[in-house]
């Protein structure tokens, strides 16, 4: 196993295949617990812990488990790790546990964890699966951190509980209410789309330079480009 492949696996989850923003998995916790940055990070770390445990366990038993019953087996393994995390949180971080509430047991049905079990851990060894879990968990945590920060700063004028904007503007409470979650999530995905559009767009334009005037779709192209410009302003 070469170092390059390991690095690839580790970094895939951060941006290229970010589970929340690119693959749109695990939406429920990403929207529900990000009213405060601290809760978002707590949720991210709890889910990462479960993901590492379940990925390693599943990659170890992948050759023993018959194909037909693999989903129930995976879910049981995941539920076991979730219970462990839940009990640990209740014992050592009771405040966080109370604020995350039912979203901690709901990590069981977080699609990221089952998706990684299905797509990665049941095909790869324990070492690669650990790296994958760390990468994906970090990507999930990072996404929650960004969403949580935006919502907390705009919605209550604080960040991690530190007063930030008391004199600049009065916070818009709607950002920490449910609609704000959808709004921030939508804008975040759009920004990431925009960045990747600009990147691929540049390459495409470079490739097509000089051919555009003769092309029958020239008008459509121009319309497209102006549409992108508007997107950027918004």
């Amino acid at each position: 196993m070469d170092a390059k492949r390991m690095k690839e696996v580790l970094t895939a989850g951060l941006l290229k295949e970010n589970p929340t923003i690119r693959l749109l998995l695990g939406m429920c916790p990403s929207l529900a617990v990000t009213t405060m940055t601290k809760n978002g990070i707590g949720m991210g770390i709890a889910a990462t812990a479960v993901l590492i445990g379940s990925n390693v366990a599943i990659s170890l038993v992948r050759k023993i488990v018959p194909d037909k019953v693999r989903i129930p087996v995976f879910i049981t393994i995941i539920a076991g790790f979730v219970t462990v995390v839940q009990l640990l949180l209740a014992a050592y971080l009771p405040d966080l546990n109370r604020q995350l509430g039912i979203y901690i047991p709901l990590i069981v049905v977080n699609c990221i964890i089952l998706a990684r079990a299905e797509m990665f851990a049941c095909k790869n060894g324990p070492l690669l699966s650990t790296l994958d879990a760390i990468g994906m968990g970090a990507g999930f945590t990072a996404a929650l951190l960004v969403i949580g920060s935006v919502r907390e700063i705009l919605g209550s004028g604080t960040w991690m509980g530190i007063e930030l904007t008391s004199h600049l503007f009065s916070p818009a409470a709607i950002m920490i209410l449910p609609p704000g979650g959808f709004l921030v999530m939508g804008c975040l995905i759009a920004v990431v789309n925009k960045v990747s559009l600009v990147r691929t767009g540049r390459r495409a334009i470079a490739a097509q330079a000089g051919q555009c005037s003769g092309c029958g779709n020239a008008e459509g192209c121009a319309g497209c480009a102006s549409g992108e410009g508007e997107g950027g302003k918004a």
Partner: protein
């Protein structure tokens, strides 16, 4: 009776599962592109959620609590829901082929629908009685249905709109969901007895 009614109205409008509790977002965004699929999915969800609400209540009150095994709640509930979905699928296949045909493809997806496990965990947390738990689960399922069907109408309209390239698809759906969620805030002023 009054209490059951206030649970029904409350979970339909005020704490709608999708729009204010963020449970069941994946199917909400995944199958809301067309109204027919939205109806199919939500029919299956209401059915399974009602059954799951009843079964999880019984398992919790008659097995887990007497044996002091409450910490196994998460594992027990998710296995119960998975088994229930499998059972419903088999029964429907044998007894009601037309219904199976229309709901069949949605059933396996329900196991990992967090609304089902969520409603089970919430009714235990609130200490509902059996009828209250069943009403709560069914009403939450209906709330999910309502959100899904309303939203599928909006998404059908969105398809013909001129949307900036980077907002196409999921981002604009999220923004639309935010607006629907704002609309549901109007119900927050309802004062319920009990």
């Amino acid at each position: 009776m009054k209490e059951l009614l206030s649970i029904l109205i409350g979970s339909l409008f005020i704490e709608n599962f999708v729009l204010s509790k963020f449970l069941g977002i994946c199917p909400f965004l995944g199958v809301s592109k067309r109204r027919e699929t939205a109806l199919g999915m939500s029919g299956a969800v209401v059915f399974v959620m009602g059954l799951a609400g009843m079964c999880t209540w019984m398992v919790n009150a008659w097995i887990l609590v007497p044996l002091h095994l409450e910490y196994l709640q998460t594992i027990a509930f998710i296995l119960l829901i998975a088994a229930l979905v499998q059972f419903v699928e088999t029964v429907l296949k044998k007894t009601a082929p037309p219904l199976y045909k229309s709901l069949g493809i949605y059933l396996p997806l329900i196991t990992t629908n967090c609304a089902v496990l969520g409603s089970a965990l919430i009714h235990v947390e609130r200490g509902y009685t059996l009828p209250q738990a069943v009403v709560y689960s069914v009403a939450s399922g209906l709330g999910f249905t309502m959100a899904l069907v309303l939203f599928s109408g909006i998404r059908e309209k969105l398809e013909t709109c001129d949307i900036p390239e980077s907002f196409k698809g999921m981002p604009i759906s999220m923004v639309a969901a935010a607006l629907v969620s704002v609309a549901f805030f109007g119900f927050a002023g309802l004062v319920l007895p009990g």
